[in-house]
């Protein structure tokens, strides 16, 4: 059973369009991480959010943590082909472990 539900599972857009990926849970997390993974490689940490309502921006990427610390979103503005990849959210618990969502595969077409 996935503690974190990601949606959509697949997303295909044209270069220059915007996209949003959602990560939802009924559980409260102490932190929420977003990773991006390219085929055949390990996930790379993009951002960590820890405070309810927190918004972080990383160039064209905007991450938000829900007020109740149960959900998060990732918004990409003016997507580029280099944004293509598998996006994973992960919720941090107090026991050194992360719970991962099933991932969203993003394809940005040129």
């Amino acid at each position: 059973t996935q503690l974190l539900e990601q949606s959509p599972q697949f997303l295909s857009i044209q270069e220059g369009e915007n996209l949003t990926v959602y990560c939802n849970s009924s559980s409260v997390f102490s932190s929420l991480q977003w990773y991006r993974q390219e085929p055949g490689e390990g996930p790379v940490l993009l951002v960590t959010v820890v405070t309810g309502g927190e918004v972080k921006k990383l160039k064209r990427l905007t991450f938000q943590f829900g007020d109740a610390r149960k959900d998060s979103s990732l918004h990409i503005t003016a997507a580029q082909t280099g944004d293509t990849g598998l996006y994973l959210c992960a919720g941090g618990r107090d026991d050194y472990k992360l719970s991962f969502g099933a991932g969203t595969t993003v394809t940005v077409r040129a």
Partner: protein, 117 residues
């Protein structure tokens, strides 16, 4: 800076053969170490984690085992592989025993692609 290594990068093994995957971390002391398995294009399933030498916690009953013979070395093993053991195996490190991991952040190695035939 910290780096994490995994080998081999790819492995093709027959059913019933043994397995040994190795993970080492450089540039940090007393890290928490993790083994995950990932199905194609999907999320990560935690298999084992370790907070210190000889301390292994198993998350999922299975055909695999893990050991931590040195502080920065983590090994994933099997005595007899099954077809269902095929997948992408990832090792990660996070924090250390002497301080709470910074917000549970974990950092991943490049992975091992295992195919059992």
């Amino acid at each position: 800076s910290q780096t994490i290594h995994q080998w081999p990068a790819t492995l093709v093994q027959p059913v019933g053969s043994p397995l040994s995957l190795e993970c080492t971390v450089e540039g940090t002391s007393n890290p928490n170490l993790y083994w995950y398995r990932q199905a194609a294009g999907r999320g990560l399933q935690l298999l084992f984690y370790s907070v210190g030498i000889g301390q292994i916690s198993s998350e999922v009953p299975q055909n695999l085992s893990a050991s931590r013979p040195q502080d920065r070395q983590f090994i994933l093993s099997s005595k007899k592989l099954l077809l269902s053991d095929s997948g992408f195996y990832l090792c990660a490190w996070g924090g250390d025993r002497d301080s709470k991991p910074r917000y549970n952040e974990q950092f991943f190695g490049p992975g091992t692609r295992l195919t059992v035939l």
